[in-house]
C-alpha cells in the first residue's frame, strides 16, 4: 500500500488508521496497560501515559452525542442539507461523522457504514442502528 502520509491524506501517526479505512475497518488505539481506548492516535496513552498502545478494530456500534443538519454549502462533495454528528463509540472515543440513511436524535444508537471518496480512502459514517434505538441521555 503506498503511503498516504506522502500525499498529506494522513500523517505518520494516523497512517494505520487511514490504511485500515481503505479496507473498511475502523481502528482506534487501545492501551494494553490500563485498557483505555483513544482517538485520534497519540504516541502514548493519555490516560496513564503508558506507551503500550496498539491499534484495535472498533465494534462499529455507537450512540449519538450531538447532531445538526447543515443547511448551507460547506464543501463541494456534500450538497446541503446533510447530517453532521458526534458519535460516541461503544469503546469510548467520540468521532465527528455524518449520518446517512435516515434521521437520528441525540441518544440514538447508530452503526458504522462507509462513504467512498474520489481518490481518497473511504470515511466512516454512521446509520441508524437496525435494533430498536436506545433513546435517552447519552
Amino acid at each position: 500500500m503506498p503511503s498516504l502520509s506522502d500525499r498529506n491524506v494522513a500523517d505518520p501517526m494516523t497512517e494505520p488508521f487511514w490504511q485500515a479505512c481503505v479496507e473498511r475497518k475502523l481502528v482506534i488505539q487501545k492501551c494494553t496497560s490500563c485498557g483505555a481506548h483513544q482517538f485520534y492516535p497519540r504516541p502514548f496513552c493519555l490516560a496513564c501515559e503508558s506507551d503500550k498502545v496498539q491499534w484495535v478494530e472498533a465494534s462499529g456500534q455507537g450512540v449519538v452525542y450531538s447532531v445538526t443538519t447543515v443547511r448551507i454549502p460547506v464543501v463541494d462533495e456534500l450538497p446541503p442539507p446533510y447530517i453532521l454528528a458526534l458519535v460516541d463509540l461503544e469503546e469510548g472515543p467520540r468521532l465527528l461523522t455524518n449520518i446517512e440513511g435516515g434521521n437520528v436524535a441525540i441518544g440514538d444508537a447508530v452503526s458504522l457504514g462507509w462513504r467512498d471518496r474520489d481518490g481518497l480512502p473511504p470515511v466512516p459514517v454512521f446509520r441508524p442502528a437496525r435494533r430498536s434505538s436506545a433513546r435517552g441521555d447519552a
Binding site: S5, V9, D11, Y40, V67, V74, A85, L86, L96, G107
Partner: protein, 386 residues
C-alpha cells in the same frame, strides 16, 4: 480582602474603536493606527511612550507588522492566537508585565475588513495534512458554525433549553443596539423574527449568529503613574483569567461547559468579587446559546438555568444584569475577533460616557471573551471604576 491582587495597580487608560461597519477607505493597519492615536490621546500619551505591543490576526508575526507600521520597537510583545478572546488574554498578560516592571505602556490593537474583503473561509480542505483536515473536513463541518451548532444542540437536549430562550438573547442585544448610534443593525427584533430566520445549522438560525462586519479597536494599558496623566478617567483592571479547551470538536468531553468556567473563577478570585457584584457584563455573543453557557460558567446562574434566566429580560436595558450593552456581536459589530470591542464597551460604561445606553452607576464590569471553535479559548477580565 482575601483574594485581592497583590500586584501594583494597572489601568486601561485609553480605548477607541476603529472605523466600523463597512470600511473601504482605510486598510486594517491604518484603522489600527488611527484608533491608536485616539486611544493614546485619551491616555495623555504619544506613540513614543508605547513599549509593549499586543495583537492578533494582523498577519504573520502580527506584533512585528503592527509595531513596524506604528514605528515601535517594544521591549514586550505578543501576537498569540487565542482567537477572538486574544485581547482579554492580552489584558491579563499586559497587567502582569506592567506590574512586574517589564513594560510601562501596552498597546493592544486589532482591525479587520472581513466584510469588505469577503475573506472568511467556511471550510478546511481535506488534504492539508492537519488533524482537522483528516478528521473534520471530510464531514463538511462549517468553521465555526458547525462546531457551535453541535454544542447548542447538545446543550438544549441536555437541559431542555428552548429555541425561544436562545432567541431571547438576540432580542436583548438588539434592544441595546437601538440605543447605540454606532450599531450595525438597530431596528426592533422579536423572538418570532429570530425563529423565522433561516436555519443555518440546526438549531442555530441566521439571527442566532453574529454579524460579519469590519471593525476593531485599540486599548492602552498602563500603571498608576502614567494613568494619572490620562485625559479621561482610567479604569482599573481588578483581575483576569484564562484557559483553553479543545480545537477539534470531537475532543471536547462536554460541549455544555466552556473554559470560561476556569477563566471566570480565576478572574473573579483575583479581583476579589462575586458574580453578584457585577454591574455590566460584556459577553462574547458570537452565538445566542454561547451567552447562556457563559452565564452558567461564570456563576450568574446554575448549570442549565440560563435559558430561564434570560427569558424575563435580565440582560435588557433596565435588567438586573445589563449585558451586550453596545448591542454586541449580534447587533453592533463583529469584526471576526470581538474581544477588543468588549473591553472598549466596558471602559465606556465604567467611565459613564455611554450616552443613551449608559448603565446607571456602573462600577464593576466584566468582559468575557471566547475564541476558536465552539469555545476553544476563554479569557475573563474584571474592571472597576475607582
Amino acid at each position: 480582602m482575601a483574594g485581592r491582587p497583590t500586584l501594583a495597580p494597572v489601568f486601561i487608560a485609553g480605548a477607541a474603536e476603529t472605523l466600523l461597519g463597512k470600511v473601504t477607505d482605510q486598510s486594517e493597519l491604518s484603522m489600527v493606527a488611527l484608533a491608536a492615536k485616539e486611544a493614546l490621546g485619551e491616555a495623555g500619551l504619544r506613540l513614543r511612550d508605547v513599549d509593549a505591543v499586543f495583537t492578533n490576526y494582523m498577519g504573520e508575526e502580527g506584533s512585528v507588522q503592527l509595531g513596524e507600521y506604528l514605528g515601535l520597537q517594544p521591549r514586550y510583545a505578543e501576537s498569540s492566537d487565542m482567537g477572538g478572546a486574544s485581547f482579554e488574554f492580552f489584558i491579563h498578560h499586559a497587567m502582569l508585565a506592567i506590574a512586574a516592571g517589564r513594560c510601562n505602556v501596552a498597546l493592544i490593537g486589532y482591525a479587520s475588513r472581513q466584510r469588505s474583503r469577503r475573506n472568511r473561509k467556511p471550510a478546511i480542505t481535506a488534504t492539508d495534512g492537519t488533524l482537522a483536515a483528516q478528521f473534520e473536513a471530510p464531514f463538511g463541518i462549517h468553521f465555526p458554525i458547525g462546531h457551535y451548532a453541535l454544542s447548542a444542540a447538545r446543550y438544549m437536549h441536555q437541559y431542555g433549553v428552548t429555541p425561544e430562550q436562545l432567541a431571547r438573547v438576540a432580542v436583548s442585544a438588539r434592544k441595546w443596539a437601538a440605543l447605540n448610534p454606532k450599531a450595525w443593525v438597530r431596528d426592533p427584533l422579536t423572538v418570532a423574527d429570530v425563529l423565522a430566520s433561516p436555519l443555518i445549522c440546526d438549531p442555530l438560525h441566521k439571527l442566532d449568529c453574529c454579524l460579519v462586519t469590519d471593525g476593531g479597536g485599540v486599548v492602552i494599558v498602563t500603571g498608576r503613574e502614567r494613568a494619572r496623566d490620562a485625559a479621561k478617567m482610567p479604569v482599573r483592571i481588578l483581575g483576569a483569567g484564562e484557559s483553553h479547551a479543545q480545537w477539534h470538536v470531537a475532543q471536547c468531553p462536554d460541549l455544555t461547559v466552556t473554559p470560561g468556567a476556569v477563566s471566570g473563577r480565576e478572574a473573579f478570585a483575583m479581583a476579589g468579587i462575586a458574580p453578584g457584584d457585577v454591574d455590566v457584563l460584556e459577553p462574547y455573543d458570537n452565538f445566542t446559546h454561547a451567552v447562556l453557557l457563559y452565564l452558567e460558567d461564570l456563576g450568574f446562574c446554575a448549570k442549565g438555568e440560563a435559558g430561564a434566566f434570560v427569558e424575563e429580560g435580565r440582560l435588557d436595558p433596565g435588567g438586573s444584569l445589563p449585558s451586550m450593552t453596545s448591542g454586541g456581536g449580534l447587533s453592533y459589530n463583529h469584526p471576526g475577533a470581538l474581544g477588543i470591542l468588549l473591553l472598549i464597551e466596558a471602559v465606556r460604561q465604567l467611565r459613564h460616557e455611554a450616552g443613551e445606553r449608559q448603565v446607571p452607576d456602573a462600577t464593576i464590569a466584566v468582559a468575557h471573551g471566547t475564541g476558536g471553535l465552539a469555545f476553544s479559548t476563554a479569557s475573563t477580565v474584571v474592571m472597576a471604576r475607582e
